[in-house]
Amino acid sequence: MSQPTTDVIPGTLDMLILKTLSLEPMHGYGIARRVEQISRGVFKVNPGSLLTALQRLERAGWLDAEWRTSENARRARYYSLTRAGRKQLEVEAADWKRRAAAVARLLNAEG
């Protein structure tokens, strides 16, 4: 049974992108697929949002972008994490964990 897919939780797309790219440099579609795969199909990335976010993160100095020739000899834009991006990922991940834990505690509270 496949779970129903939803859009990414608002405000977390940046973190998901950074996390994905912390593994290896990737192009846009690759990032979208990786997010879907790792979330086991729970999150579905909207291409418009993704590309906008990539442009924003690049301009913020967290990502570097370069044009490379992909496997099938097409021009593709590859994104990689910068040092500042890695730091930002740590900050956002820590923040998210803190908040998720708090939400989990609230939901698990008895009575």
Binding site: Y29, G48, E58, R59, S70
Partner: protein, 887 residues
Amino acid sequence: MSLWRQLTHGLRVLVRRADADHDLGDEVQHYLEQSVAAHRARGLSPDDALRAARLEIGNITVVRERVRDAGWEHVVGTLAADVRYAARRLRRSPGFTTVCVLTLALGIGASTAIFSAVYPVLFQPLPYPGGNRIVSLADVGDAGQPIDVTYGTFNELAHRSRSFADLAAVDRWAPALTTRDEPERLTGARVTPRYFQVFGVKPAVGRAFDATDDAQGAPRVAIVSDAFARRHLGTARTAIGRSITLDGEPYTVIGVMPPTFDDLLTPAADVWAPRRYLANASFESAEWGHHMRMVGRLARGVSIAQARREIAAIGATPTADFPRPVWASMTRGLDVQSLRDAVTRGVRPAMLAILIAVALVLAIACVNVTNLLLASGTRRRAEMAMRAALGAGRGRIIRQLLTETLLLAAVGGALGLAVSTFGVRALIALAPAELPRANAIGLNAPALVFAIALTTLVGVIVGLVPALQGATRELRIGSQSDTRTTRRSSHALRRSLVVTEVALALVLLVGAGLMLRSLARLFATTPGFDATHVLTMQLDVAGQHYDSDAASRQFFEQVLERVRHLPGVTEAAFTSQLPLSGDVPDGYGVQWESVPRSRNEMPSALRYTVTPEWFRAMRIPLIRGRLLQESDRPGDGEAIVISQSLARHEFPDIDPIGQRLRIGPDIGDTTRPWGTVVGVVSDVKQTSLALGAEDAFYAALGQWRWVDNIQSLVVRTTGDPTLLAGAVERAIWSVNRNVPIVRIAPMHELLARSEAQRRFVLTVFETFALAALALAVIGIYGVLAAGVAERMRELGVRAALGASPERIRALVLRQGMGLTGIGIAAGVLAAALATRAIVTLLFGVSPLDPLTYLGVIALLLGVSAIACWVPAWRAARVDPAVTLRAE
């Protein structure tokens, strides 16, 4: 780092738009291909895979636009597009654009010119370090008015007050500079040692005065202006140590002030020297005359209010160390003001009136342009509907319309700056001579900032109403006829704007009318003498080494003798002060033998020391008794002629002739012989035409205690007085080559100059009122003409149904005159309130003067009738067949 990236990436998109678009397209395309490939890998057919991928991504164009719109450069890009579009639109309707731009240029230009004149005078801090800590201290006169202080008062305060870091007093000085060429009269000041410290300005070269320079008998030293040093002594550096001869005495130059230094108490001063007064002088000496101005720099942490309290406390507690005469007893305290307020006190009402006037002109200009924009908005309904249909949001349409008005305002503002350069030049040329800080007037940085801010503000204000109207109307798209109700509301708005314009124009016209009537009244009042055919000039014999009064008296008599013999001269006389010339009023106490009073209660009167022909030369009529005569010589009993107002005040019931009196600084001195009143002459206006008669007495030059160094020569001529100026000068110099002659002017010119401030305000008001009238008329015409154009069909129907051309004409006329009528009613109310601001500038005219109001109303009605008549005439000529066929 990231800011840098934001900037560079954005700029790259802006500069190389095609490349950026291409890259983005590639990226989206790549995404799509990858998606298709993934679907195919899952076993879909090529077509199905493409469809699935498309479904996933959505509209590719939308994706691209979303990414493109996210960056800041997108805002700049659309702005540039908006501006380009607006420029194209404005170019396409040159008539509309020209009228708007010219109107705005007029409004912005006039405002900027006035601002650049008013700002340095009223608002800018004084051009001294810590300028707002400099205060002016004045004694308080009988009527509570500020008057000059005595040196004695300064001396006491300098010792007793703790509120001031530095305190100084300054005395007017106009020394004659002896050079190899013609003698030159300088503008200067004699000051106490700490004078320049009060201003916080040091000489650029050399040193300031110190206490030793102020000692009697110390070497004479002077500090000169940079301009003077360049003019006479080479450069500022070479001037130090040089000797100059002032009033016949050698002075050593010890300092040169920086070129930027402007002595507000002595504008355009060339030279300063120590005053050298005695701290313990007798009450009869010059030290105790009211003739100095006092300035102080507040000590750190002392507010002006604290200083005021301290001075009041000192005034209330005299000590034995500092005896005070009654006339400098400080019983009324002192008037402590910031120096800026003190120097601008005289011109403030005029400045504020002009400021109000220009605000009105600007308001009318804005209203007019708003109106034009509304009219053009009606014509652009189809365009707006198209934009809305293509998906432009309300905000987007408002932004586009605002861009247009801002562009209009920017062009208008740029042109306005050009207008204001002329305006500023005209203002400087027109400005009354007593305007303080006139040299700071110009199109400088604050004026430019003001112009730019004003332009932006005007662009937004002018555009906001039409933009909101345009946007609300067009989002309800429908057939043209559906918009009739909104059209009506737009018309109501435009009519109310026209009403506003008429009202504002009326306020300005009333202001101008009141000023005009005031000046007419002023110049209709007799100054007490006949100013036509009189040449005047001022002579200064200080420093001519006339050892005795007899010698200088002889000089003046010789001059008169020679001048009288010039062809074209009928009479010539000297006077110690000249009426309405700007001479500082010179008055003394009067003691009557028959009216015992304490010295404190003795009245004072203006002192004129004249040669006997004065009354005939000026045509001052004798009321009773006799005039002064050549036979009134030194040693005889002093003969005094008094003015009618002095006679009326002192002797309302009895004949003043034969009354005995003492006059001068030494009244109360019982050893002095009494003088006798020999005649009464009619009153003369001394300081201003607007003031009532001032008490005055006349003493003969031959009998007065001293001979004034500075005297005015009046010469009655048979022809044009200016033509004789050269001959009179030569006659004077034939007696003494070294006497400086200044202020050569016919008397009627001095008279006109004495009302320069009112005339200045009148000129500005007249100019602005005419501009306002023109704008209002254009407004009325525009609204009516547009109304008629839109109602062609209705008028055609009316004509077809039998309305006569007269009735149609009357219909339109009634509408236009109705607007004018409402505007006039509103304007009269506004004017009744607004004219309070110019009450102090009026003379003999009530701010509610019915004649002015009626005249202005008639003018407005007449002019707007002409403006209405053209559209009415056009409406009456509507051919029903033509209009109905057009349906």
